[in-house]
């Protein structure tokens, strides 16, 4: 198992490298010159433009720009933003905790809500409870994140005055954005868990378990859920990416300082250093999350082995 994890981690290095190269190349295809964007209109004389390009290092060949950037990164220097000259590492570190907090809180909500809705509706199959749970799930899938966010703010901040609408720090400021963000994943998960639970509950071994006289809870948790878990966990790993991109919207609406918004702004400004810094972080975390998912297969399903 450890060897498997080690191998995967080594394989992650080229993956991350390729991602950064691709993003770097893609940025070159976006129209616009970072130096011109930085300068605006007013003083965009050819001389000043040339100077800014030199300051930014844009006058060097592409491969030199890329390799010197990566070399600096290896030494722990993420550089300064091309657009506002702030330290990229500081900018990212200031925002990362808030985004991680939001993403994991949303993930937690997705897991708790998704599994409970899914299991309940599978157990109460074809009753009104099932219909209600699936209706909630349908709502969750259909509601755009921004709309749900605004509704939450309207209800809990403006009308009831229970929760602050903006900012980060403390559980109070986390509930609404996490719920808005997690709702979509929760709903996807609920529908998935329900159908795979139904699948499993109809299997012979469940009937056998019941025939053995095991109590309901044991049958559901140890026999049914465990087998229904595999597809759900796979989807959960993929949901992580969705949560990260959803974070852009939630962070904007709830005015949270986060990676998502920084990323979008940096792309629009062709702020290469900032984009690469965040790309690295996201690529690494995506690789790690998927590794965790793969490893968890072995934990959940003894038939899967990485020995």
């Amino acid at each position: 198992m450890l060897r498997y994890i080690g191998n995967r981690l080594i394989l992650a290095i080229p993956t991350v490298l390729i991602v950064t190269i691709l993003v770097f190349l893609m940025l070159q295809f976006i129209p616009g010159d970072p130096a011109e964007i930085f300068l605006g209109e007013n003083r965009s004389t050819p001389e000043l433009l040339a100077k800014v390009r030199t300051d930014m290092g844009l006058d060097r060949p592409l491969y030199v720009q890329y390799t010197s950037y990566m070399w600096n990164v290896l030494q722990g220097d993420f550089g300064r933003s091309l657009n506002n000259n702030r330290q990229v590492s500081t900018e990212i570190l200031n925002r990362l905790p808030s985004t991680i907090q939001l993403t994991f809180a949303a993930l937690a909500i997705a897991i708790v809500l998704g599994f409970s809705l899914g299991i309940i509706s599978a157990l109460k199959h074809n009753t009104w409870i099932d219909s209600l749970a699936m209706f909630v799930a349908l709502l969750g899938v259909s509601m755009p994140v921004f709309w749900l966010s605004l509704l939450l703010i309207f209800l809990f901040s403006v009308r009831l005055n229970w929760l602050p609408a903006i900012g980060q720090g403390g559980i109070q400021r986390l509930i609404m954005p996490a719920f808005a963000l997690g709702m979509l994943s929760a709903s996807t998960l609920a529908r998935l868990v329900r159908s795979s639970m139904l699948d499993v509950l109809n299997q012979d071994y469940i009937r056998t378990a019941r025939a053995k006289g095991l109590i309901g809870r044991t049958v559901v948790i140890r026999h049914a859920l465990r087998n229904a878990l595999i597809p759900a966990v796979t989807v959960l790993g993929l949901q992580f990416g969705q949560l990260l991109s959803g974070a852009v919207i939630t962070e904007t609406i709830f005015s949270r300082l986060g990676i998502g918004k920084l990323y979008v702004d940096a792309i629009l400004n062709k702020d290469f250093t900032t984009v690469q810094g965040i790309t690295l972080i996201i690529a690494v975390s995506y690789v790690l999350i998927n590794l965790i998912v793969d490893v968890s297969y072995a934990v959940i399903d003894p038939r899967v082995s990485y020995e």
Binding site: P31, I37, G40, E91, P97, Q168, G169, L174, S255, I300
Partner: protein, 617 residues
């Protein structure tokens, strides 16, 4: 096996919970980044060559444009108040007019209370450096950290700021200032002539890459230090708008000592030191700015009706880009003052007795359409006139701005000094007349496809706009529908910010939108001056020597009455030649809690000012 499984499950569950908790604990973070200044320096390769070209500062780096109202023109969020005679504090406050004027009750002395005041900013900005920024938001915040040399209490009326006396020579090329001798910067260093010289010299230094401030300094040559508290500012040519420039926060002196200690790279991020009523406590980029009262402050402007330190002990500026959230925070009490209130929410706020809403007609150039004269068929006067006549301005304002604003008449808005009514009646909405104009010019639809042709060329124009800006997209759609009625086909090219700039700077556009704030009629220079064509802000690519001369003459005229006449002539020529379509002269919309007393809407409403303001219980 079952048991083993349960164990594993609980272990992984536990892990998950720990991770979530870890994440939750490590969350808030984010204070002012303390970054080591690196050598972003290098030798200046370009000599400081201040041109006379005015404020052409289109906010290219305004990434916030994605959420903010965001015209492609976005100039408004960045532009220099070009020159003299700013529009005043007379805001058309819809609920409580008195509060918008600079004349409210004195509120005796400085019964300094401990109220924290929270202001909702509509978007982010680059650095909190008034001398280098492109964002008027920075000017708005910085006005509380720095003091200008002179204040402008009413259009063209100047009051003592850091300068106590001032005079200019006859041709307005040399200005002399006597400075206050009792002022210190927040870092304890004295304010003096050297500080002013340092500030101005830094603005024109190419290394600073200053934008708004650079434009405001016009044909700056040098600052001569006469003695510790007396300076002479010298220009290469006449520069009458200088006092107006000085009355903004963009030219306000900052502490040379602090700048040299912090270094160019981090100045404006970790530290900003001025002489103003508030000190910078912390700045978290893209999130919030915290200012605390300067207890030593004793040199505020007379029109603020206050003395000594400010009453509000702390001002927190929160950046809330999403308009709906911004207004929600006012309603929930999380903020006390909101800028850029969405038009759609404005009437609701007006009706709410807990809030005061303020609408101030914007000085500058309204929401408009630039037409690239270098690209046929926009060089055809008949086509441009037909587009004027076919534009349903009232309908557009009702649809896009929820009825807030006034149909535009010419290159400067109704609220701008020098505005002339005469052009308002020139192009009434008249589809028939527009069709007739095109027919007479030889544009006819011979093949019956609904699009006119002339000499085998279809009357098709390419409109470029920033797709992520809601207002721009709506204006583009509306225009397409308007022009379809007269047989002009509009191809819509909605692009990202950088793609948009690439296209319009290269002159690929037939049309694009524009919008800009500025308190002086010299904003026409941005739109129409030859030197600003060919990739600059004159995306009309209008090159006309006669117009250049008219603009220069008007800017150099010191007699106010004559100046107004000269600008009337310019406005007439712009509309005679049908150079641009002016759709909407918009309003700046603000709202605040009724508990706020005595805020001042400085410089035409662009700069709410809170020295002298207080929060009642």
């Amino acid at each position: 096996m079952s048991l083993q499984f349960t164990k594993r499950m609980s272990v992984s569950l536990l892990l998950m919970i720990v991770m979530v908790m870890l994440a939750a604990c490590g969350a808030p973070a984010a204070t002012t980044p303390a970054a080591a200044p690196t050598s972003a320096a290098a030798e200046p390769t370009v000599a400081a060559e201040p041109t006379t070209e005015a404020a052409a500062t289109e906010a290219a780096p305004d990434a916030a444009a994605t959420e903010a109202p965001a015209e492609p023109t976005e100039a408004a969020e960045s532009t220099a108040e070009s020159a003299a005679t700013a529009a005043p504090a007379e805001a058309a406050a819809t609920a409580a007019p008195a509060e918008a004027a600079a004349t409210t009750a004195p509120a005796a002395g400085s019964a300094a209370d401990d109220s924290v005041f929270t202001y909702a900013l509509a978007g982010t900005f680059d650095k909190l450096d008034p001398n280098a920024t492109t964002f008027s938001r920075v000017g708005r915040v910085a006005l509380h950290i720095v003091d200008p040399l002179v204040w402008q209490s009413e259009p063209g009326v100047y009051e003592a700021g850091l300068a106590t006396e001032w005079s200019a020579n006859a041709d307005a090329t040399e200005y002399t200032f006597k400075l206050r001798e009792d002022v210190t910067f927040h870092d304890g260093t004295p304010f003096n002539a050297e500080a002013v010289k340092f500030t101005f010299d830094r603005i024109v230094d190419p290394e600073t890459k200053a934008q708004t401030a650079f434009s405001l300094l016009g044909p700056y040559k040098e600052t001569q230090v006469i003695n510790d508290y007396e300076i002479k500012v010298v220009f290469n040519s006449s520069f009458a708008p200088f006092y107006n420039s000085l009355s903004t926060s963009y030219l306000a002196p900052v502490s040379p000592t602090s700048f040299e200690r912090v270094g160019a790279a981090d100045w404006g991020i970790t530290e900003v030191v001025g002489t103003g009523p508030y000190k910078l406590e912390s700045f978290t980029p893209d999130s919030e700015i915290v200012l605390i009262r300067n207890e030593d402050y004793n040199w505020g402007p007379a029109f603020a009706n206050a003395t000594g330190p400010s009453k509000l002990s702390k001002i927190v500026w929160k950046i809330i880009a999403e308009p709906s959230t911004r207004i929600a925070t006012l309603e929930s009490g999380e903020t006390n003052f909101v800028e850029e209130v969405p038009e759609i929410d404005f009437s609701r706020i007006q009706e709410n007795p807990d809030f005061t809403s303020i609408s101030v007609p914007q000085p500058g150039s309204g929401h408009s359409l630039m037409m690239n004269q270098q690209l046929p068929p926009m060089d055809d006067l008949a086509v441009r006139r037909a587009i004027q006549l076919a534009s349903d301005k009232e309908g557009m304002i009702a649809t896009i701005w929820n009825g807030i604003g006034e149909p535009g008449c010419g290159p400067i808005t109704h609220a701008t000094y020098g505005f002339d009514e005469a052009t308002c009646s020139m192009y009434p909405y008249n589809v028939e007349e527009a069709n007739k104009t095109l027919e007479e010019a030889g544009w006819v639809d011979s093949d019956g496809d609904g699009i006119r042709e002339k000499d085998g060329t279809k009357l098709t124009i390419g409109h470029y706009y920033r797709a992520e800006a809601a207002v721009s997209s709506q204006m583009a759609d509306y225009m397409k529908a308007d022009l379809a009625k007269i047989g002009i086909e509009v191809e819509l090219n909605g692009l990202s910010q950088s793609g948009y700039f690439d296209a319009v700077r290269a002159g690929k556009h037939h049309t694009q939108n524009w919008w800009d704030t500025g308190t002086d009629p010299d904003v026409v220079r941005i739109l129409l001056y030859s030197k600003n064509a060919g990739g600059g802000t004159n995306r009309n690519n209008y090159i006309n020597e006669e117009m250049d001369k008219m603009i220069d003459d008007a800017a150099g005229e010191s007699d106010p009455a004559k100046r107004v006449e000269l600008y009337a002539a310019i406005q007439k020529k712009v509309m005679d030649d049908a150079l641009m379509v002016f759709y909407n002269d918009p309003m700046s919309l603000y709202a605040h809690t009724n508990k706020l007393e005595n805020p001042i809407m400085y410089l035409g409403g662009n700069y709410p000012y809170f020295y002298g303001a207080s929060l009642s219980e």
